[in-house]
């Protein structure tokens, strides 16, 4: 009897506790409030989204957006002080570190697609990029058809190499695909003539060309392997309260004049550390997305009206 009563008490207590909790914060917001800190995951070489400057400090377009999100979180939680910590991530570690709570936001150049949504959530799209190829001007390659029978590099495990493989099979081009471990290495393959072309996100190609020894020697194709795909800032799945705050913060930023200003700062002006200028004006699709922010993974939904 005594035993049963105890059980009843415990269940009752648990029930009360659960009810009390539901009024309070949950998930990431709760964690941020308790620890007084938010951790941002950054990439070390995703220029100009998220990379290290010459003082080994993470900077970039996505980092600036994340700092705006941090301000919004701070305001939402009515905190006087919110410490921002930075933690480096790679394409292999970003999911585990986000899942186990080491990082709260992943600020880089991660493509938002339907498969990935099973594992994580994305906030409003901050960039759109299509898969294109870069080649030396001297090799005179204009279209995808020109790559027939040649050696072409791409980074293993990316959506780019997947699209290249698909195009290769669908159009029976007989391309010899060389998988590289990293984006920089894919470009290195073209620089050292191991491959005639490298297939990557066009914005990454622009940054590699701008950073190469002789930027005039390379040309980025107009022919694309894919529709423009969205980049998003990644957060934990099933955390609606946090996502609401982040979505509102990014939407407010993109819709204000600051969104365009921020874009110009990273894509139209010289950026540290080497003073590169990517010279990539905002596209019609992205402009439209900024006026109507969306977190959709579907490339078709980003058509400029």
């Amino acid at each position: 009897m005594k035993c049963l009563r105890m059980v009843g008490l415990v269940i009752g207590a648990a029930f009360c506790a659960a009810q009390a909790n539901s009024e309070e914060l949950t998930g990431t917001l709760k964690k941020i409030k308790e620890t007084g800190a938010i951790t941002i995951g950054y990439r070390d070489s995703s220029i100009p989204f998220s990379y290290l400057d010459d003082n080994q400090k993470p900077i970039g377009f996505a980092i600036d957006i994340c700092l705006a999100i941090v301000d919004a979180v701070k305001k939402d939680l009515k905190l006087d002080k919110l410490a921002v910590e930075f933690n480096p991530v790679t394409s292999s570690t970003r999911i585990p570190l986000l899942a186990n709570g080491t990082i709260d936001l992943e600020c880089g150049s991660t493509t938002n697609n339907a498969d990935r949504l099973k594992q994580v959530a994305f906030t409003n799209t901050h960039f759109l990029t299509a898969t294109r190829f870069v080649s030396k001007k001297s090799s005179k390659l204009g279209s995808i058809e020109d790559l027939k029978g040649k050696s072409v590099a791409s980074t293993s495990g990316t959506t780019n190499i997947k699209q290249l493989t698909e195009a290769n099979a669908a159009r029976s081009l007989g391309i010899n695909i060389i998988p590289a471990k990293e984006h920089a290495e894919s470009f290195l393959m073209v620089e050292t003539d191991r491959a005639v072309a490298a297939v990557l996100d066009d914005v990454l190609l622009a940054s590699f060309v701008a950073g190469s020894k002789d930027p005039g020697a390379y040309v980025i194709s107009t022919d694309a392997f894919s529709k423009p795909e969205p980049y998003g800032i990644m957060l934990r799945k099933d955390d609606p309260d946090f996502k609401k705050v982040v979505d509102a913060a990014t939407a407010a930023l993109y819709q204000s004049a600051d969104g365009q200003k921020l874009y110009d700062k990273w894509f139209m002006q010289k950026i540290p550390p080497k003073g590169l200028n990517l010279n990539t004006p905002i596209g019609a699709e992205l402009k439209h997305e900024f006026s109507k922010p969306s977190d959709s993974p579907d490339p078709d939904s980003y058509k400029a009206m």
Binding site: P96, S156, T165, L188, D193
Partner: protein, 243 residues
Amino acid sequence: MNYHWNWSIFFEPAPNGTGTYLDMLLSGLLLTIETSLCAWIIALVFGAVVGVMRTLPSKAASRIGFAYVEFFRNMPLLVQLFIWFFVLPEIVPQDWGLWLKQMPHAPFYTAVIGIGLFMSARVAEQTRAGVNSLPRGQKMAATALGLTTAQTYRYVLLPMAFRIIMPPLTSEFLSTIKNTSVAITIGLIELTGEARAMQEFSFQVFEAFTGATVLYLLINIVVVVAMRFLERSIAIPGYITGK
């Protein structure tokens, strides 16, 4: 942890259109096995030759062997692979360099040679240790019988030495298999490479690397069992490693 486990991911079709994710890992496993077998053959041949050189009476041979071992043993494998893959084609004449760069399956050959030579330095040390572990009397007896140096090694020293170093050689073979994962840095998409690709496509990181771990474990167990079997079948009753 906020993670969506999905173990059935292995049976879902992979986006590269060659079957399921499991097929992807298995094709990586096949490449890992091919690379490590070829590298192991190079390691054994070069290692045995260099190891024997280090025990020869000739001073010059022993010095060459010493230089070889220290060169390949004291540089990280990753650096060696980079030198073979990125630096070598730039320092040879341009025509050769271009030929090297445009050779099909260049990462495979580079990995086989790079890992093979790296491991050969270690096999050489094992061989030397094996030969040196034999009682001096063996060599003297062979000389007294009128055998030449070559015959002494062929009929007296090496048959015993190799039996003695069988267990450490098993470890070196296992290391060779595991070292092939470094070749991912020069674009060889072996087991680790496929696991990385799988996690990038599916975002199921833990499942992908667990799968790769299990496969590595399995081939290494197969190697260990096979080597044990080999050890037992070549053992000489009454001598060091025999019963």
